[in-house]
């Protein structure tokens, strides 16, 4: 039970904050909320598949989630940069990721975590959301503390940047150092995931707060 709470604490906070902010949010932020919903389903699936006697690993579920997560986050970034002429590069980035991911799946099989694909995903998303941060810091008349985009992008950059070294070794560790793998998973991935979702929750809270403040000031 404690493991589930530890795994899902940040996610649930973000989910509740997202629910509160949902009436005020535009498509860009909605994509992050939908991703939370998808991840909750995937998370349940990772436990459910292990209940089947012939299933020894649930890594294929993470492989299933990887292109969905990348797709959502890149689509959100595409939405963010919709007025930028270079936005088509995001689509190119997604194709690059899919090429690496699929070659990983074909070569190693779908049951092994596609860590090359994951590293590609991490590099692309870190670069993309660093651009978002740079763009936000250059905006006029907006305090960085009140910008939901900054908090959300910070969470994504910290998660994908920080979790990449561990996740790229995850399959190796799971095979050769099972206990260490479990420890590192909880320390690095879960820790950073909680940070990512708490920052997303802050972002949702700011969206709601800014929207209410705007409504009051225009009344």
């Amino acid at each position: 039970m404690w493991i589930i709470v530890n795994d899902l604490a940040g996610l649930l906070i973000a989910f509740i904050a997202g629910l509160y902010a949902l009436p005020y949010i535009k498509l860009y932020y909605k994509l992050f909320f939908y991703l939370i919903v998808v991840f909750i389903i995937i998370y349940i699936l990772t436990y459910v598949v292990l209940l089947f006697p012939n299933q020894k690993s649930n890594q294929w579920v993470f492989n299933l989630y990887m292109p969905i997560e990348t797709g959502f986050l890149m689509r959100a970034a595409y939405q963010y940069f919709k007025l930028d002429k270079r936005k088509s590069l995001i689509i190119v980035g997604y194709f690059v990721f899919m090429a690496v991911f699929l070659s990983d799946i074909i070569v190693r099989g779908p049951g092994i975590f596609a860590n090359h694909g994951y590293i590609t995903e991490s590099i692309l998303l870190v670069a993309l959301y660093l651009f978002v941060l740079n763009f936000e810091f250059n905006k006029e008349f907006i305090s960085w503390k009140r910008s939901p985009d900054i908090w959300i992008a910070l969470g994504i950059v910290a998660y994908f940047g920080g979790a990449a070294p561990y996740l790229s070794l995850m399959h190796y560790l799971n095979t050769n150092h099972h206990t260490l793998n479990y420890y590192l998973y909880n320390l690095v991935t879960v820790g950073l995931a909680n940070l990512r979702y708490i920052l997303l929750a802050v972002g949702f809270w700011l969206i709601r707060r800014n929207a209410i403040a705007k409504t009051i000031s225009t009344q």
Binding site: V126, E136, F137, N138, K139, W144, G162, L180, L187
Partner: protein, 264 residues
């Protein structure tokens, strides 16, 4: 590699990446802040430049008007006075022509009077010395004497509490507005009222003329007068509203709010 070594490697690489990301984010933040500061400095410089330019523009235009007023007073005024003296001399030499000279004398006296008033209202020194309300009073009398419309002037002992520059701008707006009424409005009545209370000041100029479509007129190249009114109001730091529609006359309102009221 032992488990501890792997663990330490993974954790240290993770921390290094996180530190690198933090460094990049701080760099973005600093450069963004610097860029915004530069933009603000640039905007401030532009504002100062425009302010200077506006000041020079106003000074040049006011100087030209003062010069023009001086010329009117000294040259044309002197010529008219000389003509008047000449007529007086002719009357003394030919007493039988006194009756014949009367209409010409009346016209001359009127011309001298009009010229004197016009020269005063063009001269910004006079506005500065006598104050806005006195200058408007003179202009009202001058326009009344033209008998183009009924001019109703209401300003019960108003003290506008404006600085010299604001008074000058406001007076020029008043003149522009009256010129518009004279030339274009076909109005029968023009109402001018001023009101001041607790540091607030408002002046309203209203006519019952043919009116116009404000949006259309402001977009056309003809509306330099109206644009001047808006521009001068902005320079004087006053709120200006121009309300008009075809057949419904025109109302120009200028408001200066006290600092206390401007606070949220």
């Amino acid at each position: 590699m032992s488990s501890t070594e792997i663990m330490l490697s993974v954790i240290s690489i993770t921390l290094m990446i996180l530190l690198l990301i933090a460094g990049i984010v701080i760099l973005f933040f600093q450069s963004g802040k610097q860029r915004l500061k530069q933009q603000m400095d640039l905007a401030q410089n532009k504002l100062n430049y425009e302010k200077e330019l506006r000041l020079v523009e106003t000074e040049v235009s006011e100087q030209m008007m003062s010069q023009f007023a001086q010329e009117l007073h000294d040259n044309i005024g002197q010529l008219l006075t000389a003509t008047h003296i000449h007529a007086e001399n002719q009357k003394l030499r030919h007493p039988e022509l006194i009756e014949g000279f009367k209409p010409m004398e009346a016209c001359l006296a009127e011309a001298i009077q009009q010229l004197r008033m016009l020269s005063r209202t063009l001269n910004n020194d006079y506005i500065g010395r006598q104050g806005l309300m006195a200058a408007i009073g003179i202009e009202v009398n001058r326009i009344k004497s033209l008998q183009r419309f009924q001019l109703h002037w209401q300003a019960p002992s108003v003290n506008p509490h404006l600085d010299k520059n604001q008074e000058l701008m406001l007076f020029r707006i008043f003149q522009e507005s009256m010129q518009n009424s004279l030339r274009h409005s076909q109005a029968k009545n023009v109402y001018v009222s001023a009101y001041a209370n607790n540091g607030n000041f408002e002046i309203k100029m209203q006519d019952d003329g043919r009116g116009f479509d404000v949006e259309n007129i402001l977009q056309s190249p003809k509306a330099s007068g109206l644009r001047n009114i808006a521009k001068r109001a902005k320079w004087a730091g006053m709120d200006c509203s121009i309300d008009s529609s075809p057949g419904k006359g025109c109302t120009i309102t200028l408001k200066k709010l006290s600092t206390i009221e401007l606070l949220p």
